[in-house]
C-alpha cells in the first residue's frame, strides 16, 4: 500500500490542506511526520508543505534544513524515493542542497497570492507524467520569496538535463516578463534534481485539487506521483 508523509515543521501551515487532499481526493494513506523524526521506513513519497517554517528566520527554509527530519530526507532521496517541496518546502529543499539554486525575495518586494498560469516544460518526470509537454496549468501561488536564482553554469547543466519542470507563463503559454510574478530567473517556477526524484515548486497544487476551489490542475501533479509509485 502506497504511503505518503507530510512533514510538519514549526510554522508549516499548509500541512493539513496537503494531508486532506492526499487522504480524501487521492484516497491514499498519509501520515504527518514531525521534524524531529528520522525513521522514514514505510514511506514512498514525502511532501514538504508550504508555510513559514521556523518563522522564516535567517532565510526561508534555512533552520528547517538543519533538523533531524531534513537530514534523514537526504538518505531518503538517495534511495530514489520521492520528495516534493511546495513553496516553503521548495525553499527547504534548496537550503538543504537537495535542489540547486536559491529563492530570493520577490523583485517587487511584495507578498503575492493569486492564480498563476504555468507551462509544463518536461512531462517525463515522476511529478508531471500525467501532463503533456507545453500543457498550461492554473495553480495558485502565495509567497514573498519565490524569486528563483541560480548561477549560469548550474542553469546550463539543469537545462541540458531537463531539470526545469515548470515556468510561469500567460494564459496562452507564452513565457514573458509580464507573466513572471516574482522576478524568477527564466520564469522558473519548479525544478527537480538530476535523478528526477526530488521536485520543488512555488505554486500550491494542493490548493488546486477540487473544482470548488477554482481549479483542479494541481491533481495533474499529484496524480503523476501516484502513477510513478
Amino acid at each position: 500500500m502506497l504511503k505518503f508523509g507530510v512533514a510538519v515543521y514549526p510554522g508549516s501551515n499548509c500541512d493539513y490542506d496537503t494531508y486532506t487532499v492526499i487522504r480524501d481526493i487521492l484516497e491514499k494513506e498519509v501520515e504527518f511526520i514531525d521534524y524531529r523524526r528520522t525513521d522514514l521506513r514505510g514511506f514512498d513519497c514525502i511532501v514538504l508543505p508550504g508555510g513559514f517554517s521556523f518563522g522564516d528566520y535567517l532565510r526561508p527554509g534555512t533552520l528547517a534544513s538543519h533538523t533531524p527530519l531534513t537530514y534523514a530526507l537526504k538518505d531518503f532521496a538517495k534511495k530514489g524515493k520521492y520528495i516534493i517541496g511546495i513553496c516553503n518546502g521548495f525553499q527547504i529543499l534548496t537550503e538543504s542542497h537537495l535542489l540547486p539554486g536559491a529563492l530570493m525575495p520577490n523583485d517587487h518586494g511584495k507578498f503575492i497570492c493569486k492564480h498563476q498560469y504555468l507551462r509544463v516544460e518536461n512531462s517525463n518526470t515522476p511529478f508531471t507524467n500525467q501532463c503533456e509537454d507545453g500543457q498550461i496549468l492554473k495553480i495558485p501561488i502565495a509567497h514573498h520569496d519565490g524569486n528563483y536564482y541560480v548561477d549560469q553554469d548550474t542553469l546550463k547543466e539543469m537545462e541540458d538535463n531537463d531539470q526545469i519542470i515548470l515556468r510561469y507563463c500567460d494564459e496562452f503559454g507564452n513565457i514573458t516578463q509580464d507573466a513572471n510574478p516574482n522576478g524568477s530567473l527564466k520564469n522558473i517556477a519548479g525544478i527537480c534534481n538530476k535523478d528526477k526524484n526530488v521536485f520543488g515548486l512555488m505554486p500550491h497544487p494542493e490548493r488546486a485539487s477540487e473544482s470548488l476551489l477554482g481549479s483542479e490542475d494541481g491533481l495533474y501533479i499529484l496524480r503523476s506521483i501516484l502513477n510513478s509509485l
Binding site: 535567517l58 538543519h66 539554486g101 524569486n147 536564482y149
Partner: protein
C-alpha cells in the same frame, strides 16, 4: 568573544529592499544617493579565548548556516 557578521546581497544579485530604500531616500531630497544595499547584522557570542580558532569557527558558521553564498556576501570581525 563576539563575532560580528555583516551580510549583504551579493554584487549583481537583485536587492528589492535596497532599491526601494534608495528610491525613498531620493524622494526625501537626497539626490546624491546612487545605490543602497540592505543586509543583515548578526552578533554571535562564543566561548573561545583563541582568536584564530574563533575566526575559523566564524567561517564555518557562515558557510553552514548564516550565509547563502549563492546570493549573499559577508564580512565578519572578531571582538574580545
Amino acid at each position: 568573544m563576539l563575532v560580528k557578521f555583516y551580510i549583504k546581497p551579493r554584487k549583481g544579485v537583485l536587492d528589492p529592499q535596497g532599491r526601494a530604500v534608495a528610491e525613498n531616500l531620493r524622494s526625501l531630497g537626497f539626490d546624491q544617493v546612487k545605490d543602497v544595499k540592505v543586509g543583515k547584522y548578526i552578533e554571535v557570542y562564543i566561548e573561545e579565548s583563541d582568536k584564530e580558532k574563533a575566526v575559523e569557527k566564524a567561517k564555518e558558521m557562515a558557510r553552514k548556516a548564516l550565509v547563502n553564498d549563492l546570493i549573499e556576501d559577508y564580512e565578519f570581525e572578531v571582538v574580545d
